[in-house]
């Protein structure tokens, strides 16, 4: 792509937000309907890749919370940590716990499963985004651009 693609630039910014929102929605609904952390993470990666395609890998990385590697490590850490509360209660590691938080008008079901699934989401997003951005940076050089 030489030069600027105005149409793409105008649409990509809102598209990025929509894709991320969709990704989080897919993550949250995953326990009872098709979806989950893995699929959500893939959708988020598609968003990051689209953003990077239009605005370049550096700009895309700036939009990525913490950067790819810390994000992936955070995800892995969340999945690891989500199994710990069970240990504190004397149950086997990774026995998931549920807690319904009363909000007055409704109950919010919280669980270590959600923590676990969020960990998968972040790990997939961070890892694949890391690959995409690094590959794009490598490709930039080919065109004589700056990384």
């Amino acid at each position: 792509m030489t030069g600027r693609a105005l149409l793409l630039e105008r649409t990509t910014r809102p598209l990025y937000g929509i894709l991320l929102a969709a990704a989080v929605w897919i993550l949250l609904r995953g326990h009872n309907a098709p979806g989950g952390g893995f699929i959500g993470g893939l959708v988020a990666v598609a968003g990051t890749a689209a953003y990077a395609m239009v605005f370049g890998p550096v700009a895309a990385q700036r939009r990525l919370p913490f950067g790819p590697m810390p994000l992936a490590l955070l995800g892995a850490a969340l999945t690891l940590v989500s199994g710990l509360p069970a240990l504190a209660l004397g149950r086997p590691y990774l026995t998931h716990l549920w807690w319904n938080l009363p909000l007055g008008f409704a109950e919010l079901p919280l669980s270590t499963v959600l923590l676990f699934d969020t960990g998968i989401f972040l790990a997939v997003w961070g890892t694949l985004a890391g690959y995409v951005l690094a590959l794009l940076r490598g490709g930039e050089m080919d065109r004589g651009g700056t990384p």
């Binding site: 893939l42 992936a72 499963v113 995409v132 490709g139």
Partner: protein
Amino acid sequence: MSIAAAHASDQGSRFLWVALLPLAGFGALVWGLLHHPLPWHGGWAWVPSLGVEFSVHIDGLSAQFLALITGIGALVCVYASGYLAHEPRRGRLFLILLAFMVAMIGAVSVDHLLVLFVFWELTSLTSFLLVGFHHEDEAARNAARQALLVTLSGGLALLAAILLLGDIAGSYSLQDLIAQGPALAADPRLPAALILLLAGCFTKSAQFPFHFWLPNAMTAPTPVSAYLHSATLVKLGIYLMARLDPAFNDLWLWESVLVGVGAFTAVWGAVLALRERDLKRILAGSTISALGTLTLLIGLPNPGASLAAVAFLFAHALYKAPLFMVVGNIDHATGTRSIDRLMGLWRAMPWTAAVAMLAGLSMAGLPLSFGFVAKDLITIAKEDAELLDAIGYATLFVNATVVAVAAVAAVRVFGGPPEWPRDRIHEAPWRMILPPLLLALIGIEFEFLPDLADPLLAVAAQAMAPELGAVDVQASYVFGTVLTAAELTLLIGLALFLIWDRLETVLRPTRWLDRFGPTAGYQFLLESLPRVASWQTRVLQHGRLGGYLRATLVSLMALTVGAGLATWLNLAEAGTRWLQDWRLVGNDWPAQSWAWLTAAALMLAGAAASVAVRDRMALLMTSGLVGYGSAALFLFTGAPDLAFTQFAVETALVVVAAAVLPRYGPPPALADEPYRRNALLAVASGAGVFVLLLGMLALPQDPTLADWFGAASLPQAHGHNVVNVIIVDFRALDTLGEITVVVFSLLAALPLLGALIRARQEAA
């Protein structure tokens, strides 16, 4: 200069306190022996689910080893604090030395074979670090690696032997094994187990053909050699053989292998010693010889041999460790260990010379020394056993060599006119004199510690040979035939000593053996490894993507054909059922059929277009069509989750590839690719997978798991989506592992990609 030296010696004594740790162990052992009768038991569960218990069983044999490990260990620490006074990294050496001590103590104390194996391997690892302590020296690195590879290979054999023995005996307890004893021989697997066990012991205790690592390990700092390579590490294999001797010494296999290998090792070690010029390597050769003699003695079935073995074990440690320290002192003072350059040192190093004389007397087995007692017992033991004449002559040669080596170490380098100017060499500090002097004194007059020594040897021998009654080691002096044999040995030994310089020429033919011997074999294996690795990298990792794909598909095909053959008989039945179930013939079609057909048409169109188009972006889209088609198929066959994942994967792949591909220049020419062969392979693998699936469908399906997950998902895991519940809850640990692998792949890939980016940056 003097200030610096004083400072350095202060620095050395800073580590003197380390010796208190093994000394405390030694004290505790002596106290225990005086107050509590052996054996001592103890232990606690370690891995209860596997039946692994950290059980301790200390009998006479263990106690003897513990005495050697802690006693000599304390003295070696004192010696090392002097020897390494100028070594800035000596803290590290002391740390590893202590770790090694702990591993040795564990190995000779525990009763559970698997725990013993753990300690056994720990001794190998720590000795690797100790031998390679001067890691900036390539010779030290190679020697350390050699010792590690040889002993760890033996360790693997030992592990296999332990598992086999555990299976045969139904227990991993050493005491249980010994108690079952000869009854184990009924099992046909026992010979294999014993061969593996002995392979482990032989590598550890430097028996032929695994002996070659020991002389090379002499690159280690001298305190390490004095400790590991005379008294402790190399005796660990001897320990295990002695420990299991009561169970197996009636077996022909046990006796013949031990006696045969032991005798040959004894002779070969003597030959190695005779043709060396390096004092330390001469001692190493004679150590191999001594280890061979110990193996031989363990193999002899009579109880007298057991007594001889434990006595010789003690005597050897008591003279060989001080001799190593003597060599260390000489090396320290003169900077050389070559006997060609060492002469008349007694004037400059009188104390070291005295130590060498005392230790040499015991080594040569002269009267009044403990070595004499040991040699005496050995001679009696061999006379009691009915041995081949050849072994008798071999023994004579080995003993004579021992005398000659003792004379070289004690007389040759110290006697004669002083060749070195006195101001250039200096006597070693007290920390390097006292430890070998103490050991040598104990060795020369063992009545020094009568209350400890006699019972210790007796109980150790009884642990090996329960039928052995009470013994009085000191009373076994028998003047008569034994003494004449000893005189003959002495005479031949002295003759060998006198013609030592000509021996090298005499023994030159044995060098010929080196070219084809175990050392050459080891070297060949070591060099083959990178050769094979680079060959398979050239063949498999050639860097051409098409080739990788073909290799993968061909492997897949091979698997498919294998699986297809295994289910061949089901195929006909499967075909019929498939046709009936899917109602392609007869009956009406189900409602979703049209959706299935549409999805299939989508995939077929995508596949056909992929073959036709040559543009990279177009290829990306058409292959994406195949993915979307299969996602649609999943959607209409009741797997919405799978379909969703497939859609997400396909979309992400297309978007990512569309973003990345245009930035990587024009594609490499596809013209090189063998188009027809690829097409054939593609069709063949497609057909293969089809047949495989058909075969799989014909197999009876077990719905237990599917039903259970379906039923348990909501009540137990509060989720309607069974697939997701399995991923995040029922099989959460698997997912955790997978996600970790995913993240780690990025951790590994980022530096590679970074290097690629930098390389391109520099090229630009």
